[in-house]
Symmetry: C2
Subunit: 248 residues, 2 copies
Amino acid sequence: MKLKIIKIGGNVINDKAKLAEALKDFAAIKTPKILVHGGGRKASELSQQMNIEPKMINGRRVTDEATLEIVTMVYSGLLNTQIVANLQALDCNAVGLNGADLNLIQSHKRVVKDIDYGFAGDIDFCNSTLLKQLIDLGVSPVFCAITHDKNGQLLNTNADTIASTLAVALSDYFEVELTYTFEKAGVLYDAEDNNSLIPLITKSDYKQLKADKIIFDGMIPKIDNAFLALEKGVNLVEIGGTKFLLNT
Amino acid sequence: MKLKIIKIGGNVINDKAKLAEALKDFAAIKTPKILVHGGGRKASELSQQMNIEPKMINGRRVTDEATLEIVTMVYSGLLNTQIVANLQALDCNAVGLNGADLNLIQSHKRVVKDIDYGFAGDIDFCNSTLLKQLIDLGVSPVFCAITHDKNGQLLNTNADTIASTLAVALSDYFEVELTYTFEKAGVLYDAEDNNSLIPLITKSDYKQLKADKIIFDGMIPKIDNAFLALEKGVNLVEIGGTKFLLNT
């Protein structure tokens, strides 16, 4: 049976109309489904209201204790709960979850090498058996990007990685299709031209596109992550309108 | 089969040691179990940090839009998630829930009579079928006091009422025992003497105790609520160390 996993990021969450559209699309999916959401700007806004300066290194949030409280309140409290209530209004039987619930996603505090990211979690384990049982009750899990270490410590975790971890773990039970919504149409031939969508990328295409510098910078880890998921058993990965397959 | 429902309030949540003790006790319960928690002082603290003055009328929080965001963040985000992570560390397979999850507790915005309590929810419905299925998976639900109206509106709801609603709804499936932790030893013969516990109160005792002014003021709605739950099928209600039964 098919299972769809949809990941929505900050660009959707920050835009009321886009979020409403994304939730409507999600509710309309007929197969079993999971929504994973990132954070958006609300956590930074709350930090400012509380006079706590958000710390970023290389575009990644550094999660000190105060920031962990804030992201837990915003991601797991406000955003997750509002998304679930909105899905319920669309007759989608959603349940809000984070990694601590049912010990679904266990992680460890990121080991410090050059940079101390604080309470950032790197994932060790996904309890796919219990998640499968939940899905079998006909419910649609909605995950925020908080996990735990099974010793009582919550950890701020990358939402893209949560989505791919769930996709890989559930590919034991389902034909999993993983979609990352994206601020552009998808992967583009010309990063400046939203009409230049590349509709399909196989692994050999990817090598060529990198060699030709059509794919570069921040897209590379995203696409590496997509192919890794495919290699680990996920059936299809999409970034916006671009589909990724190991082979055609 | 027995099901234990434990409600912990602000006096437990505000005290780290008491909370740790309560969670240890909860994790040790061998039968199916549910934890319901109130808010404590953290929501008011956050309001102050954000320069939003908490509004209270007759000891009840008035929930305007800003306050609803705050209680959602604190109850459903911070407290619920931390409690679940701490229970997982005690090998209790907890899942954090609010009323919007699985449409478990549906309510309506309190009708304005004399006082407008804002986004306060009065409960209409408990989806006990799905909650029973969840419990049958061997998991322990942990509820915060947020519900929804099934039209996308979250509502701040009394945690005592959530506990008794769950107790009544699940008494179709279980022999339910509902315990309210309490800041005193229980119901007391002398409100000033914590050693004067009344260990058992039947309905006829209750009439006499009220007539004798031993039970008065804020205890009356609490105890009315306890007997209502018993009349609706709950097997046993406890407030601290005091047990309530319809008849001996």
